[in-house]
C-alpha cells in the first residue's frame, strides 16, 4: 500500500528524486487494478502494454532531465469520452465500441507533455448521460466505499479508480456535475474549471455550451497541479479562453483571512439530508475560524436551473449526437435497406435507452413550433441565473454549499425513478449554466460511512480563489482517510 498512499505530486517528487521508478508506481496501480477491478469495475479499457511503454519513455526523459514538472511519471486514468490516440475511446457506448481515435484530446496531449502515463480509460454513463455510471453499455461501476452503492456519474469510473488507488488521478468531464458529484460520492476532490479554461478539443461532445474537462484527485494540491497542467488556449476549440493566471499551484496557500463566503439559503432547503447539512455547515465554520466571513443570501432562480439545464443539454445532445450515423466511424447496423434505414437502425441499435430519450427530448424541444416555448425560454432563464450569480459575486468571493443533497444512493435505485435522479443535480447544475468554477471535496461521512462533499463555487475566472478556499479547508480538516485499506481487508478475508 506504501506508494498508493502518496498523492500525485508527492509521487512525482519521489520519482524525480530517484527514490521511486516510474514503472514501480505503474505496477503499484496495476496491481491494485488486478486486485480490485472485479469488485469495482472502474475501467472500460486497460492499456497494459502501452502504459508500460509509456512508463519507460517517461523514465528516460526524467533521467535525462527533460521532464521536471509536478506530474512527471504519474500513472493516470482518462474518462472514456476523452479521445486518446490509438487507444479505444468508447463513451461507454456500443456505438463507439471499436473507435480508435486518430488523435488525442488537447488536455491529454498537455498531460503527456507533463510526463503523465495513461493506464486506461475509465467507465462512465453512456455519452455522459446519467448520474450513476449505470447507463454504461459495459457494466456498472461500484463505489469503493461500499459496493452496494453507486460511485456517482457520469465520471463514476474516474472517481472510483482514484478512490480505490487504481490510478493517482484521473480526468473527467462535467456537463451538469459529472466531476463534482462522483468526487463527492467517492470521497475525493473534483473540480470543474471556468468554461473555456480547458480545451474541449477531443472531448466527445454532449452539451457543448456547458461542459469542461477537469481533474479528479486525492487532494486539492493535486487538483491545482492537474488543472495547471491541462489549462491551455487552443485555437482548435472556438470557445477556448486565453488564461494568463494559470499558476494555480503558486498561489494555492494564500491566506483566506477576510474572504467573504456567501451561503445560498436555497442550497439548504427541502430534500437536503440532515447529515449532509450538518457536515457542510461544520466545514463553513472551519473556514470562519480561519478568518473568512459567512453570510446567508437568496439565490432564488436556482430552482429553475434543472428544467433549464435539461432543455438545453438535451437540445445540444440531439444535435451533437447527430454525427453518429454509421458512415465514417463507430457502429453500423448489419442489415438495412438503403441509406436512411441504415442511419435509423444504426442509431437505434447503437444507443442505449437513456441516450435515445435525451435525443428525443432534444428533438422535441427544437421543433419549429416549439423552439421558442422551450429552447429560447431556457436560454433566457439561463441568462437570468447567470445574472443572479453575477450579483452574488459582487458581494462574495466564494459561495459554499453541499455538492449533493444525499450521499451515494444504492445501485439500481436511481434508474427506477430518473426524474428523482435529475433532481439530485440541483446543487451542481447551475454552475454549468453560468460557466463558473466549482470544486467538491470531502467534509465528512454519514452514518453508513459514505463520504459527504462540500462544494465551493467561484466567479468566472476565479478558479484560483476556489482552490485557495478548498486548500484552506483541507488544511483545517486534516487528512481524509481513504476507504481502501479497510475494504481490502474485508475483500481478502
Amino acid at each position: 500500500m506504501g506508494l498508493l498512499n502518496l498523492t500525485a505530486v508527492q509521487l512525482s517528487a519521489k520519482i524525480k528524486a530517484k527514490e521511486v521508478a516510474v514503472i514501480e508506481a505503474l505496477d503499484a496501480a496495476l496491481e491494485q487494478i488486478e486486485k480490485l477491478e472485479r469488485h469495482i469495475h472502474a475501467y472500460v479499457t486497460i492499456d497494459w502494454e502501452g502504459a508500460r511503454r509509456g512508463a519507460e519513455e517517461v523514465q528516460e526523459k526524467i533521467n535525462k532531465g527533460e521532464l521536471k514538472g509536478l506530474l512527471a511519471g504519474v500513472p493516470i486514468g482518462v474518462k472514456d469520452n476523452i479521445c486518446t490516440e490509438n487507444l479505444l475511446t468508447t463513451c461507454s457506448s456500443k456505438m463507439l465500441k471499436n473507435f480508435l481515435p486518430p488523435y488525442s484530446a488537447q488536455a491529454v496531449e498537455n498531460l503527456k507533455k507533463e510526463g503523465a502515463v495513461i493506464i486506461g480509460k475509465t467507465n462512465m454513463d453512456e455519452f455522459a448521460m446519467g448520474s450513476t455510471t449505470e447507463t454504461s453499455a459495459f457494466g456498472v461501476t461500484k463505489n469503493p466505499w461500499n459496493e452496494e452503492h453507486v460511485p456517482g456519474g457520469s465520471s463514476g469510473g474516474s472517481a472510483a479508480a482514484v478512490a480505490a488507488g487504481q490510478c493517482f488521478f484521473a480526468l473527467g468531464s462535467d456537463t451538469g456535475g459529472s466531476i463534482r458529484q462522483p468526487a463527492s460520492y467517492c470521497g475525493i476532490v473534483g473540480m470543474k474549471p471556468t468554461y473555456g479554461t480547458v480545451s474541449r478539443y477531443g472531448l466527445i461532445a454532449y452539451g457543448s455550451s456547458l461542459e469542461q474537462i477537469g481533474p479528479l484527485c486525492k487532494d486539492v494540491t493535486d487538483c491545482a497541479a492537474v488543472l495547471e497542467g491541462i489549462t491551455s488556449y487552443d485555437k482548435k476549440d472556438s470557445t477556448s479562453v486565453l488564461r494568463k493566471d494559470k499558476d494555480f499551484i503558486k498561489d494555492l496557500k494564500e491566506n483566506i483571512k477576510g474572504m467573504k463566503i456567501g451561503i445560498p439559503k436555497d442550497y439548504f432547503g427541502k430534500g437536503l439530508s440532515e447529515e449532509v447539512k450538518e457536515a457542510v455547515l461544520g466545514a463553513a465554520k472551519e473556514l470562519e475560524k480561519r478568518g473568512a466571513s459567512l453570510e446567508e443570501f437568496d439565490l432564488k432562480h436556482v430552482s429553475y436551473a434543472i428544467p433549464a439545464y435539461y432543455v438545453l443539454a438535451c437540445a445540444e445532445a440531439s444535435s451533437n449526437l447527430g454525427r453518429f450515423d454509421g458512415v465514417k466511424y463507430g457502429y453500423r447496423a448489419e442489415e438495412f435497406h438503403g441509406l436512411h434505414q441504415m442511419y435509423k437502425k444504426t442509431r437505434s441499435q447503437g444507443f442505449g435507452t437513456e441516450v435515445k430519450k435525451r435525443i428525443m427530448i432534444g428533438s422535441f424541444v427544437l421543433r419549429e413550433a416549439y423552439y421558442e416555448a422551450y429552447y429560447l425560454k431556457a436560454l433566457k432563464v439561463r441568462a437570468l441565473i447567470k445574472e443572479e450569480f453575477h450579483k452574488a459575486f459582487e458581494k462574495y468571493d466564494i459561495l459554499l454549499g453541499p455538492t449533493t443533497p444525499v450521499t451515494a444512493p444504492k445501485l439500481g435505485d436511481s434508474l427506477l425513478d430518473p426524474m428523482n435522479m435529475y433532481l439530485g443535480d440541483i446543487y451542481t447544475i447551475a454552475v454549468n449554466l453560468a460557466g463558473l468554477p466549482g470544486i467538491s471535496l470531502p467534509c465528512g461521512k454519514d452514518k453508513k460511512g459514505l463520504p459527504i462533499g462540500l462544494q465551493l463555487i467561484g466567479d468566472c475566472f476565479m478558479d484560483k480563489k476556489v482552490l485557495q478556499a478548498a486548500y484552506a479547508y483541507e488544511e483545517a480538516r486534516g487528512r481524509f482517510v481513504p476507504c481502501i485499506d479497510e475494504k481490502l481487508k474485508s475483500w481478502h478475508s
Partner: protein
C-alpha cells in the same frame, strides 16, 4: 395542472427528426418519461423573462480568423481504420439515390 400528453403522431414525427426507430416497449417507456420531463419543463413558464435576452454563449464571442493554410495530418490510414466498411481506400456507404 394537466399533464401535456404527447400523441402517437408527435412521437413518430420526433423519432423521424431524431433518426431513431424505437421498439414498442422503448417507445412507451420514453414517452412516459418524456411527458414527465415536459411537465417539469413547464415550470419555466413561471419565470418572467419578457425583458431578458436569450443567452446562447457564456462569454462574448467574436469570430476567430486565421490564414487559410493547409495543415497536413497524415492520418488517412488511421481514419480509414475506423470506417465500418472500406473499398479502395474509400469509405463505403449505401447508395444515396434510389434506383
Amino acid at each position: 395542472m394537466m399533464r401535456d400528453r404527447i400523441s402517437d403522431e408527435t412521437i413518430e414525427y420526433v423519432a423521424i427528426l431524431a433518426k431513431l426507430e424505437l421498439s414498442r416497449e422503448e417507445k412507451e417507456k420514453i414517452l412516459r418519461e418524456m411527458e414527465k420531463m415536459l411537465d417539469y419543463f413547464s415550470k419555466l413558464k413561471e419565470v418572467d423573462t419578457s425583458m431578458i435576452e436569450p443567452m446562447s454563449h457564456l462569454f462574448d464571442l467574436s469570430n476567430v480568423f486565421r490564414e487559410d493554410q493547409i495543415e497536413k495530418q497524415k492520418k488517412g490510414e488511421e481514419i480509414l481504420k475506423n470506417a465500418p466498411q472500406v473499398k479502395d481506400r474509400m469509405i463505403h456507404v449505401p447508395g444515396t439515390i434510389e434506383e
